[in-house]
């Protein structure tokens, strides 16, 4: 069986040239046309030629019709280094592999329909495959912080009137303007159900984690509010793993009043949510400023989800006395977690050590963009560790806003602040 991998990166500023460079590098390392391609690009190309030009450049080398998915990411990492500007791609040629790509639109307006549309396109093409093992990559549009008239785009809204307005506009913004949470917690379970015997790796496309816009790639199309998938059937084996470096603090949030969709927390322990949050963390209100995300990263919360694993998420927006969460909260308790810089770095080696007895052929990783923001230049230390573990094996890691994995044994795990990997071996 032939399984050849090409991983390439570009540092070109111009979108068209970046696409061309990637396409040339990928195709020159493969014996034949790629069986599939996964592409990650940072948001800068929006300003330097645009993503359509970027994909156009790529398709000057990659034949049109080649299954290709991907999207915008905060940063990426390969054996060549770690970068928060540029693009990277992985292309695979295999003579014993079936591949199908799918795409669903309007994920915020109707996540179930979008998920089903994407799944059905893949299922039609791959259901008759004779190969035993299934793998699925899913990339989707992550949350976009809405911008309201008179309010703008803010993580913390203290004014009672503006807070009332933004809560009132929450549903309108989500369903009509398609801005707000990504609703991946609604469509990802569909993928896990329909591809229950597959192993899945997913990531929420983002900008520089300011969450103002993001793009998803499907063939030569640049999409917003979309979910794309790439299903593979092969005789290769593989596995998924999730780590984070976070540990429970022992502190809990008892949720006593939630919004209808279970994403808005109105009260914690009978008190207004924001007040209780500050009390439990021992924070002054002044901490809820424009830098709040850099502080919130260190204190995610988790709950036991119905899919068997803990779901970890960062606090989203502080609106008046309430808190908007990125994912629906299950149950009525949230555990407060925390980490150290060291434990964040160790999450990478801990994750890859799950596969210490394997000889991987390729590693694809979804990491939280907040890890890149928090680790900063120390991310280069992580790259060195990961490179050392992989040795000569190609890998690519991309930094998202929301990561997920699924396996039949461990179930579905989605959330923020994590390091999630999918590795292939014979």
């Amino acid at each position: 069986m032939v399984f050849t991998v090409a991983v390439a990166k570009t540092r070109e500023w111009n979108g068209r040239k970046a696409g061309q460079e990637l396409g040339l590098k990928l195709t020159s390392h493969l014996p034949r046309e790629p069986t599939f391609v996964i592409v990650y690009a940072t948001i800068q190309y929006e300003k330097y030629g645009g993503f359509q030009e970027f994909l156009q450049g790529l398709h000057e080398y990659i034949p049109k019709g080649t299954p290709l998915i991907g999207g915008t990411v905060a940063a990426f990492m390969t054996h060549e280094g770690v970068f928060s500007r540029g693009a990277a791609a992985v292309a695979v040629y295999s003579n014993e592999m079936d591949v199908a790509a799918g795409c669903g639109l309007n994920t915020r307006r109707n996540p179930i329909l979008a998920g089903r549309e994407c799944i059905s396109q893949m299922k039609q093409k791959i259901s008759e495959s004779v190969y035993p093992n299934g793998f699925l990559f899913v990339y989707y549009s992550s949350a976009v912080v809405p911008s309201y008239p008179f309010i703008g785009r803010k993580a913390v809204i203290t004014s009672k009137i503006l807070g009332f307005l933004s809560k009132a506009l929450y549903d309108f913004s989500l369903k009509f303007l398609q801005k707000g949470v990504d609703r991946s917690d609604e469509f990802l379970p569909l993928f896990a159900d329909e591809f229950h015997d597959y192993q899945i790796l997913a990531g929420g496309c983002t900008d520089d984690v300011k969450q103002t816009r993001n793009y998803v790639f499907f063939g030569n199309r640049v999409l917003e509010n979309a979910v794309v998938g790439l299903a593979l059937k092969t005789s290769l084996s593989g596995g998924v793993a999730a780590t984070s470096g976070f540990k429970p603090t022992g502190k809990e949030f008892q949720l006593t009043k939630l919004g209808q969709d279970r994403r808005i927390i109105f009260e914690i322990g009978g008190e207004p949510a924001k007040k209780a949050f500050l009390k439990i963390l021992g924070w002054p209100e002044a901490y809820l400023d424009d830098r709040v995300f850099s502080r919130l990263f260190w204190y995610p919360v988790s709950f036991q989800s119905r899919f068997g694993r803990n779901t970890m998420q960062v606090f989203g927006l502080f609106v008046e006395d309430s808190i908007i969460m990125p994912y629906r909260v299950e149950g009525d308790k949230l555990q407060l977690l925390t980490a150290t810089g060291k434990s964040l770095l160790e999450a990478a080696s801990e994750n890859l050590n799950y596969f210490h007895d394997k000889k991987p052929l390729l590693g694809i990783i979804s990491e939280c963009g907040l890890r890149a923001i928090t680790l900063g230049s120390r991310l280069h230390d992580q790259r060195e560790t990961v490179s050392e573990i992989f040795g000569g094996t190609p890998f690519v890691s991309a930094f998202f806003a929301g990561e997920a994995i699924y396996s039949q044994v461990d179930g579905l795990s989605y959330g923020n602040d994590t390091f999630k990997s999918l590795l292939f071996w014979r």
Binding site: Q44, A74, S84, A372, G376, S377
Partner: protein
Amino acid sequence: MPDQKIDAVIRVLDDLLNEDDILATMVKSRGAPAVSPPTSRFKIKNFAIWQLINASVDQSLALVDAFSNAGADKLYLEIAEYEIIFFVIDRGTVLVAVIPALANKGLLEVEIENARRVLRQLFRRG
């Protein structure tokens, strides 16, 4: 510093300036004039701050020197709406970058670190 090396340093800094939130940048070695792209490429609005940095950058080198045996790697300084980051290239040289105080520092640092690695190679070559 030979002209060829100055040009190479300027190319690295110029590339860094393409980042929206890198407002100004320079490389300063002890006893040598600062090297930077033309100030017309800078996006810093309060130019007096830049002049202040320029005038006092040698003091950052003294600090780096004092802490170099302890592994000095970076210095951070927040002034008004700016953050000034000093990345140590070697005991006598720093890479200075000015970013907005509320910038996405972590992601910018990834790229400043990439620039530092290229500059270190240039300086090691002599």
